[in-house]
Symmetry: D3
Subunit: 199 residues, 6 copies
């Protein structure tokens, strides 16, 4: 019952990587304290690494109508629908941290319908899950429901594009059997910062 390797694909030697990849990896390690495995797995294809993280930054760092926690809700809910261990565990941690809520990662992963989220967030996740799991049925009606829930058309694009990026990301993780770092399982589970709960 010993652990599996980080990926079923061979990882590149860190020292052999192009300079920009080395820098990005060093930066995340400095900030987070460890190197999330997705950086190591994607580094075997430097051009794809660059494109993937450029896309990631364009959407996840973009200033817009969605909060950081809301973006992570989309990632967690759609990745759970795809049963993607890396994305659910890693982004569940980010959701806990951004929302300052130690329960929300698991709640959204298991069943968003019973999570402690606002109605607008439930509408957001319904649309994201529809686009993630039955994209051929997504249409103007879904856009209208998002607008009715208070989102702008740019927000709609963000919701859809984040869903789309993690449709890609989940499949890369399944392709490579990408293993989440152990650290992600416990990040942000500290009760301290969260909002009060019913006893």
């Amino acid at each position: 019952m010993s652990g599996r390797p980080i990926s079923s694909f061979e990882l590149p030697a860190l020292e052999s990587l192009p300079g920009d990849l080395k820098e990005r990896i060093a930066a995340v390690q400095a900030k987070t304290g460890f190197v999330p495995n997705v950086f190591l797995v994607m580094a075997r294809r430097p051009d794809e690494f660059r494109a993937f993280f450029a896309y990631y930054d364009a959407l996840m760092l973009r200033q817009g109508g969605l909060s950081k926690a809301e973006k992570e809700m989309i990632v967690v809910a759609t990745s759970a629908a795809n049963q993607c261990p890396y994305c659910v565990v890693a982004h569940g941690a980010l959701l806990r941290l951004f929302a300052k809520d130690p329960l929300l990662g698991d709640q959204v992963a298991v069943n968003h319908r019973q999570a402690d989220i606002a109605p607008r967030q439930r509408a957001m996740l319904e649309a994201a899950l529809k686009l993630a799991t039955a994209p051929q049925t997504f249409g103007e009606e879904d856009v209208q429901q998002l607008l009715a829930a208070g989102f702008s058309r740019e927000d709609v694009w963000d919701i859809g594009a984040i869903t789309a990026l993690f449709a890609l990301s989940n499949r890369l993780a399944h392709l490579s059997e990408m293993r989440p770092n152990d650290e992600f399982y416990t990040l942000g589970r500290d009760r301290g910062a969260g909002p009060p709960r019913p006893s």
Copy 2:
């Protein structure tokens, strides 16, 4: 974003309960430090409470070929397939505790195929998930695969019956919108007792 109540059904006053229910509830509180919400929700129907926990004890406390951790794996995997918050969160905690492994609850909940479990356990979960989600297709071939994986016929009954009991349990939890106690989210996440992992 305030929390939801424990259930969408009204809970009985503890002091109004029959004596045997009061005793069982006091016992679990003494042992666990809190009263799992399932006891409070089920107590509104004392006869069903008694039958449910009698069934639970008959299967989950029974000495047989399955370890306590293996029984919880079945509960977590099949409850995750049914997206049942109460059962995934509460029994994910029990799985972490019994397996002395802080990662296993989430791994089995998200995708048992990539969990750090033995081949016999994977065979066990494949059969349990088939019986849980497509019971009409379960048959002698599935039994044979379990026997080939080293289980006895009594073990096969246990695997199937635990799956069946949580098919009931998940549906009661969805019916009543049963909320997991906050305590379950963090139980057993301590690294101390677990086996070594790849860094």
Copy 3:
């Protein structure tokens, strides 16, 4: 093309059973004229036998807002969705008897949407089938529709709990390849007692 045995699991010798099981079995035989196979199959695990039939009695014999025929409709419709031969055939017979309608068992088993049932019963079966086959989607909206159809909240619990019990029961029957007694196929098919029909 000779018949299959009652179950793929070995049955216990009747004389070796604990006294309370013997009594229950004798009582049902005296009343019905034969021993339904579910008693023989479950008897191999006396504690589970006791819990199962205690649960069964708590729900199916309970006095409440659902008629006996309505309870059997739930059993037949959800068991048909799970393609469970024992439950469809045995409870189809009970439905015919309780409803005094020789056609209703087959109608509800094949397609409840075209059965000769009242609108409130159709609403009941829609909710039960949702909880049976997609429990993760069951929620407050479904409860509201049942209330709107005239059911009380205690009735809602009964509808959901009966559905849950037969989610368990169907899986035990599939696990054990439980064969319905031949007698069930023809019980209650007599035209005499039924309501008039269109020619």
Copy 4:
């Protein structure tokens, strides 16, 4: 709870029908003792009536490698998958009569995997159900399995074509909400002619 009409579409007056339809209807009535509702519903479109029954006769009366009972098994199993009341009830009766087995209609309708049928018949129903419910996945492998089970290529055509005809028939019955005649529910349920069964 009064009965529904024979169809949601208006039926033609019998006396207004073309002579060949009148004759066919009179013949079936003479033979069966009643007019199966499918004749009345289809008669509203005489050209379609003629084509439908010509197709029916070409397949169901054809002398070939399939017995009459085997043809009815295909009809019952695939119609049950489509939850078609008319076809399940009417052809369940024919299956009981042709097989001289009062249990077989319900067994095949509820779950062919547990019916008292021969292995070749199970292979036949597996192929038919695949073509009925996921036709895009049917292919040479399925044909090979039928050949391996002892069927000729002409038998394979018969199995597939009967499945195809009832794919049409089930949809016409759903389109028109075609009600099975009450008589079909009880035909062939007499124990007399059937083979011995386990007690």
Copy 5:
């Protein structure tokens, strides 16, 4: 990568066919310039050939509320849902020709929701696809939606019956691995006759 044969079933020699089949085949060749493969494949069973094309003519040549292009939309959309190469390619060509629109065949085959069709045609295809892929859920509500979209009850029958006929046709084509003639791929793709489009 050489082409597959017309069918996995042996074809009859044309000169050995009954006179009426020869005539029909000669007529279609004279009109179309080639013999569509469906005629060759069906000819191996003359009685089924006659019934099939009689049914086809009764529905597809019938004068009623549906235009020829609308009938072909139903065929293309439902055949695409069944992934039937023969019917999608052959009737995609007919749809292009009857609609005088070189894009419509592909649009309806890939995703009718985004095709350049009128709202009434979208309602027609929604109902047809429901009857094609989930016939057990088709009911009075669907009929009412078609009536609300402007169809008569006779049109509803036509929509349903064409859907039913191609449920049969698709399954025969899958059964026989019927290959579309190369000519169908390009028929009607000429821009000339079509309506103006957005640049």
Copy 6:
């Protein structure tokens, strides 16, 4: 029945775009003779435009074990499973051109199982479709089947990563209701260059 706009989202004015986007768009227009709509729709978010096309180039222009036609087969088959009009129509054209086969685009889009492709290509599409539509079930067995079909592990990555990129792309197209340019429907349908076919 007039045509729909290119997208449900507003398009940016070409002259307002950053220089690198203008250049890329001018280059594709010079090469192709028209501007594929995906460039216009994606240009509303320049950072996402850059990341998307960088990813596209990294995979689709990469020299490796897959031919250009094989890459397009993956795109067409998985986009057809998602019913994505833009990707099926545009990449169907590219598949026809790269394969010099006027039939292959439609064949792969409708049902790859009956397309004129090599066994290794069928294995490739089976794996791609599994990753596209049920990514949680993709695993080492699928990788082994690809290796057994003659692919290298780098090819496996390419197959999976192209599938993943179009999982994203299909969802962006559905999000934005992206319309394929009319030109794509007819590109590469000329018989000239294709291989001989059975008459």
